[in-house]
Symmetry: C2
Subunit: 200 residues, 2 copies
């Protein structure tokens, strides 16, 4: 398959890349690294990315940021960070990508653990994850041309533990290898409309 991974420079993207490379032709895209430069927060950069990518059998999104911080200090601007970045970026990738992806292709989005196992400071990330999960379940009903859509919901990645020290008390991190298999299941398998959980 010819697979585009958006956000391949991040921890989730590296997990997907390691698990899929070798057996497939991989094109990477990202804000700071990758074969193609794209900023998912700028929808005008998504259409050119697809034109440069050429024919694609699978699109994997592992990109996007949310706001982390105490609820009592959270502002509308803070909350909109997750909406404008991780949420709208991944949704735009689907809305625009639908015109470009091959018949029987697949979209794989990335949520995360925080909508199913919340932590302090994670209300924005939880909301974004919940939105992506529900979008996937609903959008699967309307995918044309045999196209599938799933989301991978990884636990805290082992590679992200240092960056989130103290934020996820008691959470058991998942290895990059296990998380990568969730992307393989979505891309190479037959599932659609599913949230594929990658826990340790």
């Amino acid at each position: 398959m010819r697979i585009l991974i958006v956000g391949a420079g991040g921890e989730g993207g590296k997990a997907a890349l390691r698990a899929l490379k070798g057996r497939h032709e991989i094109i990477t895209a990202g804000r700071k690294s990758g074969d193609i430069s794209v900023d998912l927060t700028d929808s005008a950069s998504i259409e050119p990315m697809f034109r440069k990518s050429g024919s694609l059998d699978a699109v994997v999104a592992t990109a996007g940021h949310s706001h982390f911080g105490p609820l009592s200090a959270m502002t509308e601007k803070d909350f909109r960070k997750g909406l404008d970045d991780k949420l709208m970026g991944q949704i735009n990738l689907v809305l625009i990508g639908l015109k470009h992806i091959a018949d029987a292709g697949s979209f794989t989005l990335t949520t995360g653990v925080l909508d199913r196992d919340p932590v302090r400071g994670g209300a924005n990330a939880a909301a974004v994850n919940g939105a992506i999960s529900a979008f996937v379940r609903s959008a699967a009903l309307e995918m044309p041309r045999g196209i599938r859509i799933n989301a991978v919901s990884p636990a805290l990645l082992e590679d992200s533990v240092a960056r989130f020290a103290g934020v996820f008390p008691g959470h058991i991190p998942v290895s990059s290898a296990r998380a990568g298999q969730a992307y393989v299941k979505s891309v190479e398998g037959a599932l659609t409309g599913q949230i594929i959980i990658a826990d340790a």
Copy 2:
């Protein structure tokens, strides 16, 4: 209790109002009707609403619109309708309301059936509902001063059936009276961080 219902002119709002009035002092707010005028899509109108409301033991939000329409024709602008209106409106009500609500008070938001039982054309509404649900579960961890937060997720309301003709095949509508009891459970009960389902 002194209860503010935002969106009391809509079908969900009427259900909450009928179930709560009599036993409580109710203040209503809305875009087109109610004791206080508020436009939840304009966060600048929320702070004045709380100042006019005075002391509140419960805030109930039944307001907000999403985009309905085929996924294949959906644009970023369409998708942002639900984010800017129903989602950001209800979230702002909590973020701003936290400074105004009484100790041991409660917030009750409103999601809907589409994140748990999706239909064609409902991907934006599903995403918004999923975001509100996940926000509620996460925000409950951080509520100060004994404040609670829940969401009511009603099935298609009997009062909304005519408006959504053909959109919800096979869905069994719920009565206003049953949906109203979900708001009573959230406001008068002890639950927090819960999605209270109101099915027929």
